[in-house]
């Protein structure tokens, strides 16, 4: 049985191919000159160049965090290409104008975006090697005052919004990787939902790393004004390379009074091979600010890829009665390492937060939940509920839970529950004795385990996520 289980998880990465599009790349390494080049190439205003330079100068004074439960060889930040873009072309008005090569890439990934966009009613802002090449449904959204565009476009078209909000949730000096991102970010998505508008469709961005050795430094900013609501989907996949690629994104969410932001991620960056060669280093800073009264931010993530995941989508609950949610499935296999979780910072009165984390470890992987719940002195009546469940597949992987609770207000309630379980031989035999093979059995057990999280994903994503977990675990149980 062990051999069968081992085979099941050893399926090679399906999306390993490289698209041949001529890139214009910066020289390796980081300096003020490179930052000036990025800024100049993007035709940025001076304040944004200053934003980058401030971040860079601060970054020079910082050191990489070492508290996470992962290990990797030192990263040579001077050996990374910080800018890489498909050759600039004239603005694209429709999907027909998109490079057919690019479209084929998306076909291979199973993301026929024009079809998907039309059929699923999803507007797709495609990030391809750091530059947005197509934005659909933009006009339609604009009718109700919604802005959905690349950060680069937003810098030109809506500078006042970018200036006001960018860096307001994750300051340039926040942490090592956020500072690096602030200095060199190339592009990303911007969403603005004006007062009282409910976004009529899920907004979606597909990210994809394409040029070998090019670090990806996306920046996403979503602002929901008073009474606005939006559901945003982010999905990732990347081709197969042997050298590690650094991915350090920053995502900032701002919710004003009664606003509601739901942010869902399916992350499937290349994870490296069975022996841990290659794979993406995914060091991401995601944070939402519930600034307004009764505002709500909900993070849902399905993390299945990357060699290393370092990611803590967080909520700062400032507004009275605001609430934050974090629903996570993190799956690691082979030599993958994940240290992921959330931070719920309760500042306002009667703020609520809920954390549901499901970690699945297989192969020789390491999977850690790390979460902070902080109830500030002013947060009367605050409530938190946390549930952290781990599932082990095989006996060579590990799962850890690191909950940090800081409670400074006696009139608050904090609950934490944790369980660890194992897909055992006896369970698989039980399925087998009823005629169900190991692959289907594992898929069913995993989906059952993750159900509390999957129900929070948009329908399309839930189906995708279910398939993805099955795929990632093929050949792995033992």
């Amino acid at each position: 049985m062990s051999a069968v289980l081992q085979q099941l998880v050893s399926q090679p990465y399906k999306h390993g191919f490289v698209t041949d599009i001529e890139s214009e790349t910066a020289p390796r390494g980081l300096s003020e000159d490179v930052i000036r080049m990025i800024s100049a190439k993007k035709g940025e205003p001076d304040w944004l160049l200053q934003f980058r330079l401030d971040a860079y100068r601060h970054w020079l004074t910082m050191v990489e965090p070492t508290w996470q439960n992962v290990s990797h060889p030192p990263i040579d930040y001077q050996d990374i290409i910080y800018y890489s873009a498909p050759k600039p072309k004239k603005k694209l008005a429709s999907m027909d104008e998109v490079d057919p090569e690019l479209l084929r890439t998306f076909e291979k990934l199973g993301v026929p975006m024009n079809e998907r966009a039309a059929l699923a009613g999803v507007a797709v802002d495609v990030i391809f090697d750091s530059v947005s090449v197509a934005t659909t449904y933009k006009a339609k959204l604009a009718e109700v005052g919604i802005i959905f565009c690349s950060i680069s476009e937003a810098v030109h078209d809506h500078p006042e919004l970018i200036r006001k909000y960018m860096g307001s949730v994750v300051p340039t000096s926040d942490n090592f990787y956020a500072a690096l991102n602030s200095a060199v970010f190339t592009d990303g998505s911007f969403v603005f939902i004006p007062k009282g508008v409910k976004c009529p469709m899920d907004l979606s961005t597909y990210f994809r790393i394409n040029t070998q050795d090019s670090g990806q430094f996306e920046r996403t900013l979503i602002v929901a004004e008073e009474g606005a609501s939006v559901s945003y989907l982010e999905g990732c996949t990347a081709p197969k390379f042997d050298t590690n690629q650094l991915h350090a994104a920053v995502v900032e969410l701002v919710a004003l009074d009664d606003a509601d932001i739901k942010y869902s991620t399916v992350q499937n960056w290349y994870a490296g091979d069975e022996n841990g060669v290659g794979g993406i280093y995914n060091f991401v800073t995601k944070r939402g600010l519930c600034q307004g009264r009764n505002s709500k931010i909900s993070w849902t993530q399905v993390e299945t890829g990357s060699a290393i995941t370092w990611k803590y989508p967080s909520c700062v609950l400032l507004g009275e009665g605001s609430s934050g949610e974090f629903y996570s499935v993190a799956l690691t296999n082979h030599m993958q390492q994940a240290d992921t979780g959330t931070k719920m910072i309760h500042v306002g009165k009667n703020t609520r937060s809920k954390i549901v984390s499901k970690g699945i470890s297989a192969g020789r992987s390491s999977n850690s939940y790390r979460g902070l719940v902080k109830i500030g002195a002013s947060a009367d009546g605050a409530r938190n509920y946390s549930q952290c469940d781990s599932m082990l597949i095989g006996d060579r992987c590990s799962a850890n839970t690191f909950p940090y609770l800081t409670v400074q207000n006696p009139a608050s309630i904090v609950e934490h529950e944790a369980t660890t379980s194992k897909i055992g031989e006896e369970q698989l035999f039980y399925f087998a004795q009823r005629g169900v093979d190991a692959e289907q059995a594992i898929s069913m057990i995993i989906n059952g385990f993750c159900r509390d999280v999957f129900i929070h994903l948009p329908m399309e994503f839930a189906v995708e996520a279910t398939k993805l977990l099955g795929l990632k675990l093929e050949g792995s149980v033992g």
């Binding site: 062990s2 031989e425 369970q427 035999f429 039980y430 399925f431 087998a432 005629g435 169900v436």
Partner: protein, 259 residues
């Protein structure tokens, strides 16, 4: 029901098996015809449960000798899941819990796996719901159990009833009941036995593994075998079980030493 003209369903010849390198089965012979009900009795450690696991294909048990033919076909050529789909069913002594997987989804997956194998149409959730509710009556199981996780938080009796429900849905040719009576009170025993009796018939053979003659008052066997030290030492009809009850297993194992 003994019918010497019935087809031989299971033929076990000189079966040897080990677990972790320790020999447990040491030359077991058994012939089961379609429609028959067999009881295998014996003291703890005699290898009864090992026999059931070996037939079902549990990976921890290694077959080291002998052969088993199921409908004339070498059973060991089939993986555990294929054996199940071919019609070998094991009602577990300790059914495992599968948190997060609902009983109805699990049962439907199993049902459809067999349906596909046999070239029948799969049932969608609604169609399957009709079937499973009907079958649940057989073991007096409340339909609410169908929405609960498989065996999760079930009492001992509920787990055993759930096993028989699965048997009713999968309609196996050979059902092996591994100490299905253990841990059951009289009412639960009556319900479980009633379910088994309703499923017994010409097309299906039942092999009950039990310590106690008590079960045999509810499910009457055609053949009774006494097992010790990894083989069957004595076979007979129902009266053998009654004699064992009064004289104890030593009577058989002692008889063997004398012989």
């Amino acid at each position: 029901m003994i019918d010497n003209n019935a087809a031989t369903l299971l033929e076990v010849r000189n079966l040897h098996a080990t677990v972790n390198g320790v020999p447990i089965l040491k030359g077991l012979d058994l012939t089961v015809r379609a429609g028959e009900v067999h009881a295998i009795m014996g003291p703890n450690g005699s290898g009864k449960s090992t026999f059931s696991k070996v037939l079902a294909g549990h990976p921890a048990y290694e077959v080291t000798g002998g052969e088993v033919l199921f409908e004339g076909r070498n059973l060991f050529e089939l993986e555990a899941d294929a054996r199940a789909r071919a019609g070998v069913f094991l009602a577990f002594q300790y059914p495992v819990e599968i948190p997060g997987v609902t009983n109805s989804a699990f049962l439907r997956l199993a049902y459809n796996a067999k349906a596909i194998e046999e070239g029948r149409d799969e049932l969608d959730p609604l169609e399957f719901d009709d079937l499973v509710r009907e079958k649940a009556k057989l073991v007096e199981m409340d339909p609410s159990f169908l929405d609960r996780s498989v065996n999760d938080g079930f009492s001992g009796g509920e787990k055993k009833r759930n096993e028989i429900l699965q048997m009713a849905i999968l309609e196996p040719k050979l059902a092996i009941l591994d100490e299905t009576d253990s841990g059951l009170d009289i009412d639960a025993l009556r319900i479980v036995a009633g379910g088994v009796n309703a499923l017994a018939g010409p097309g299906r053979a039942i092999v009950m593994i039990t310590h106690y003659q008590r079960l045999l008052n509810y499910i009457v066997p055609d053949h009774v075998h006494v097992m010790a030290d990894g083989r069957i030492l004595k076979s007979g009809d129902r009266s053998l079980a009654l004699e064992l009850e009064s004289r104890g297993y030593d009577w058989v194992t002692g008889a063997r030493q004398a012989a």
